[in-house]
Symmetry: C2
């Protein structure tokens, strides 16, 4: 059933994810991408009509990758939806470590450069961010019911807020060339969600 995917296409998408996260979309040339993927320019333009089209494909791959990574993580096995949400946020906080280019967000980077000039890429980035954020909505709703929490906010806005805070954390990490401020910001986010659900502050080990 699954038609055997040509390797060059996948290698180019992988190269885009890696290099664009480091250098940004505009600063990454087609030659850079071909070199990183070990592929020629002919192969590039056989699979993608333009460089932007590779960016769009990378944004789609990024969404699939994220939903797979987090959807299959251990914390998702928790019975209480609130534990799944907090597990997700703690997982994301703990990821903020090591080389900056390895934990930051491809589509957050790309959308900064493209929102006004490359509408198709902007839309792909929105789809990627929203597509991941919305996977949290059901658990937030369920947690609200289970814990009897109301408040003047929607589950969707809280889901997007978590993504926004993480995007902001990436910027702080990039600016400082150090992930500490990013982790502090994630801690504030976790503290906020706990307070929304009337939980005591996270205990430190």
């Amino acid at each position: 059933m699954a038609t055997r995917q040509a390797p060059a296409k996948e290698k180019l998408i992988g190269a885009a994810v890696k290099v664009v996260r480091e250098k940004g979309f505009n600063a990454t040339s087609v030659d850079d991408l071909c070199r990183e993927a070990g592929v020629t320019k002919g192969a590039f333009f056989h699979h993608f009509p333009t460089k932007v089209d590779l960016g769009i494909a990378a944004a789609e791959a990024w969404k699939l990758h994220a939903n797979e990574l987090f959807g299959g993580a251990p914390f998702m096995a928790a019975e209480d939806p609130l534990d799944r949400i907090l597990g997700y946020l703690e997982f994301r906080r703990d990821m903020l470590d090591g080389p900056i280019g390895e934990f930051t967000c491809l589509v957050g980077t790309m959308v900064q450069e493209s929102y006004d000039t490359l509408p198709a890429l902007r839309e792909a980035c929105q789809d990627s961010i929203w597509g991941h954020a919305l996977t949290l909505v059901d658990d937030i709703e369920a947690a609200r019911v289970r814990h009897g929490v109301t408040g003047d906010w929607t589950a969707e806005s809280l889901a997007l807020h978590t993504q926004g805070v993480l995007q902001g954390a990436f910027i702080l990490a990039k600016a400082a060339d150090d992930p500490r401020a990013a982790r502090d910001t994630a801690d504030h986010l976790i503290r906020y969600v706990r307070m929304l659900f009337n939980l005591a502050p996270e205990t430190k080990e």
Copy 2:
């Protein structure tokens, strides 16, 4: 004392602030900047050795601009430091309106593209973000004392958190090509700060 500044230099900095916010640093060419500023290339390279140096100058100008704008805003006259903080955050939330290129952050945009490739620009962006964030620290400390609030967080981390959330809000606005999600995120931030200081949720009019 103030040596009469040559207009070309200022015009170029102004042009950089405007165009880079729209198109990003890398996608903005020297010719773009000269055209926008109404200045020739000769003038450009007379005042700035390289394009990156203009970016750095723009980052510095941006910090001054921000601290002037917010430091002189009406909410700063409030007597209670907590009111000044909340006034600041509400002001920033209310700014999230109109064309996206007019409320987003220059240095947040630039640092995404430069953190790994242009260390001098990255540092200027950090200085700009941190330099603004730190103007909030004294009020946060004072509010903590005044309202008897402790908790497992530092004033500096909360100040940086506010900037991080705003940076994330800009990304959401750019991705959606719409500021609504950004305002929702700012509302969550305000709700968080109010909860930290044991205030009731913001009343809507």
